[in-house]
Assembly symmetry: C2
Homo-oligomer: 217 residues x 2
């Protein structure tokens, strides 16, 4: 799913591990992160834990107050809306750029990916499950070829999005509609129509937000 992360240093590994544990809910939202405690739990020095925590702060997964400590962020409705506004903006741009910058083979790969998903939908499997949706969005993000943008989305935003999805249990009913939206986005990209691709991607994410927002009220 996500491309091979290659943890080199001990701090890398600890960062990835901690991030996974928080996103998956092993460490609950709002939890205080005690450096000494984590240090013993993960079997590394406090310096390593500190570096990992600082990186999590940079992705907005953890908040730190000087001389007081670090806490996992709380999952709020406002936070989720903020996140989706950013997604709408950045992924819309990614789709626009992808229409210009994806190679023909990348596009045909994306189309065949979509066909595979179509088969699953026909057989009644819920399409809007993590893997398929994430995979789709992921390829378009990579297709934009803007490294800074790619990094912001894949290193920063997406883990937070996933945290909300996992912990608020969002495997919503937007099955076939979401699939159609994906199909139209790919069509626009294949036609090299960046403007349309952006509009469609933004609407797609906006619908998603509205759907979730409805469920949370």
């Amino acid at each position: 799913m996500t491309p091979a992360q290659s943890p080199i240093t001990s701090a890398d590994k600890t960062f990835f591990q901690l991030r996974t544990d928080i996103v998956e809910g092993v460490i609950a939202a709002g939890t205080k992160l005690s450096e000494t405690e984590l240090s013993t739990n993960y079997g590394v020095s406090r310096a390593v834990i500190r570096e990992a925590i600082n990186r999590l702060v940079a992705c907005h997964i953890v908040e730190r107050r000087a001389n007081v400590g670090a806490r996992v962020v709380n999952l709020t409705t406002e936070g989720l809306i903020e996140l989706y506004q950013i997604r709408e903006s950045l992924e819309g741009m990614a789709a626009r750029l992808a229409a210009s910058n994806m190679t023909d083979t990348e596009i045909s790969n994306l189309e065949s990916l979509l066909n595979d998903h179509f088969e699953e939908v026909k057989q009644g499997h819920s399409y809007y499950q993590e893997a398929g949706d994430v995979d789709f969005h992921y390829r378009i993000i990579l297709g934009c070829k803007n490294n800074h943008l790619i990094s912001m989305l894949t290193d920063g935003i997406y883990h937070l999005v996933r945290m909300y999805r996992v912990q608020l249990g969002m495997a919503g009913p937007r099955v076939s509609t979401a699939f159609d939206e994906h199909k139209h986005i790919v069509q626009a990209i294949a036609n090299r129509d960046g403007e349309l691709a952006e509009i469609l991607m933004r609407r797609h994410i906006l619908y998603s937000k509205n759907n979730i927002q409805k469920k949370l009220l």
Copy 2:
């Protein structure tokens, strides 16, 4: 200009200092950042330097390779374009949200700010100088009330933008035209027309990008 940063810890101060020195060009782009050397220069321990560098890595001002070291990023045309694509996307969204979320007093403050600038323009002062432009964009960003978005722009993107501006010397000729663009954006926000505000802001940044791109060829 930028709101009061309150450096608490020694690492905070070192981070701000280092960032300023890099953005202003005291430490040139592409320079290798030796931890021990910086440690003696700034009069703090290596741990503090490491934390500061890691934060700079998170803002994409510095790149680090494990076991090798950290370097200040190189300023490339591609990097600048990437940055402006992100700005177009995020600040467009900020303008849209600002049209909904700014208070009436914030809007009237913004209008009077623009009037002050207009006086300067009438008197022949180059409007498109750092202070005025940054101030304008800054207020709109804050006006969006999306804390995550605010943080991405003010902590992340803007220092890089400034680094390009300072080091590539961009005090371009877009004087009165930029002022008009600002005026129209404020009008849209005052009318609570988010959609138009976004379109105008995106075009404003796009023009800016084209202008710079033209000068760099």
